[in-house]
Amino acid sequence: MRDTFCLAWDQAHGAKLVDFHGWNMPVSYTKGILAEHEATRTSAGLFNISHMGRVRVSGPQAYKLSQWAFTNDLSKVNIGNALYGFLLNKEGGIIDDVIIYKEANDKFLWIINAGGRETDVEHLKFLASGKDLTIDVLSDKTALVALQGPKADAVLKRLVTDVNLDNVPYFGFGRGLIQGKSVFIMATGYTGEDGYELMMDVKDAPFIWEILTQQPEVTACGLGARDSLRLEAGLPLHGNDIDDKTQPYEAGLGWAVKMDKEGGFFGREALNKTPARKLVGITLEGQNIPRSHYKVFSEGQEVGEVTSGVFSPTLKQGIALAYVKTEFKDKPLSVEIRGKQVPALNAKLPWVRHVTKAKGK
């Protein structure tokens, strides 16, 4: 298992450590998932997400590669802003869901998932063959932490210099300093809250993490709260809700695919806009919690399966994402829990979204 910069701090603060995609990561600290979730929704949660990967593509053909490898349209984004989209295989399956930050016309930062650190880079190198560009893997040289929640903005404003965070829109980014240490500040996240993701030199990370944890509004959170927060926000998790055998349209993520963009993109021809199954949100009433792989029924037949399920600390109910046969997606559904059919309410995604910062162009 691999460790991040934060292991010593985690161990000193009662972290319950688990293996997440080969990384030794905290599922929660001593306060527990519920308290950490609540802290992020009402104040500010701090997450070490250094297991995720970071790749910088630069050079004369960096734009060409990034545009070809990515389903969203980078021609529509200005320097200082970012886009969410997918890296597809030739079958149109999602190798990874990523965010690309446009640093310059010839420089793009890709933030990728932990599980994509090797596969994404291999795929990018394959697509880059013969092109004039450099692929710089920053994953081990840098650390990545997320500060999320309604008070994240105020906390960061108190700590950073050399940047005006009011000029950084949602899905935008800038550079600043925390006590003289350079930080790359991205107004993105995975919680449904306002907040930031901070990339820094891995050598500075323990120092900056310590400063952030000492702010009175801030609670350190593990991956357990990160998962319940992202699910309430209706955000898919690669490896659970989407994977290399899942296409964007069946996952309801067609908005991040630009079929008609100039030059197209790798995997485009294989995409099916009218898939046989769809990812839907379901809410269960009473003391019922849907879990991954529970079966979904409609009109007496099995029509799908839960891919992510959790007790929603905000709604105090079980919520889930599930794939169901497309013709049943708007019909009454039920989830089989320990042999019993529990009626499910078709939910509109997201369940919770508190983002107030305006998106940039």
Binding site: K16, V27, G32, I33, L34, S228, I289
Partner: protein
């Protein structure tokens, strides 16, 4: 003296074949953030090592098991306060009292010291 199961329940012999059952501190910590407990009804008959109740936490679901017997008392406080299982798993967070069919049912289970050794080995 309390006995413990490898499946992380504790059993307290109350005399007369009555056994109070809960989950261990270790199990409560591992499960963390228990939000609902599907409690058995008083009078429910249980086969040996049948599920006594289902504990739902934010992230996971787990069963607690019982020796064969009949449920004679349930900790109804848990209906609205499942988190008591995390706060005080080996005290106020007890789950139920079972009248066991075999008065020697607890003999096969571990002493606390042996139980703690088995979890330390993991």
């Amino acid at each position: 003296m309390r006995k413990f199961a490898k499946t992380h329940e504790w059993f307290e012999d109350l005399g007369g074949g009555k056994v109070r059952i809960g989950i261990s501190k270790h199990a409560a910590h591992e499960l963390s953030d228990v939000v609902f407990i599907e409690l058995p009804d008083v009078g429910k008959k249980l086969a040996d090592k049948q599920s006594l109740c289902v504990l739902e936490s934010v992230k996971a679901v787990a069963d607690a098991y019982s020796p064969a017997g009949t449920v004679v008392e349930v900790n109804t406080v848990l209906k609205d306060k499942a988190g008591l299982v995390n706060e005080d798993p080996e005290g106020k967070g007890w789950i139920a009292v079972v009248q066991v069919d075999n008065p020697k049912a607890l003999d096969e289970y571990l002493s606390e010291a042996d139980y703690l050794k088995t979890i330390a080995a993991h």
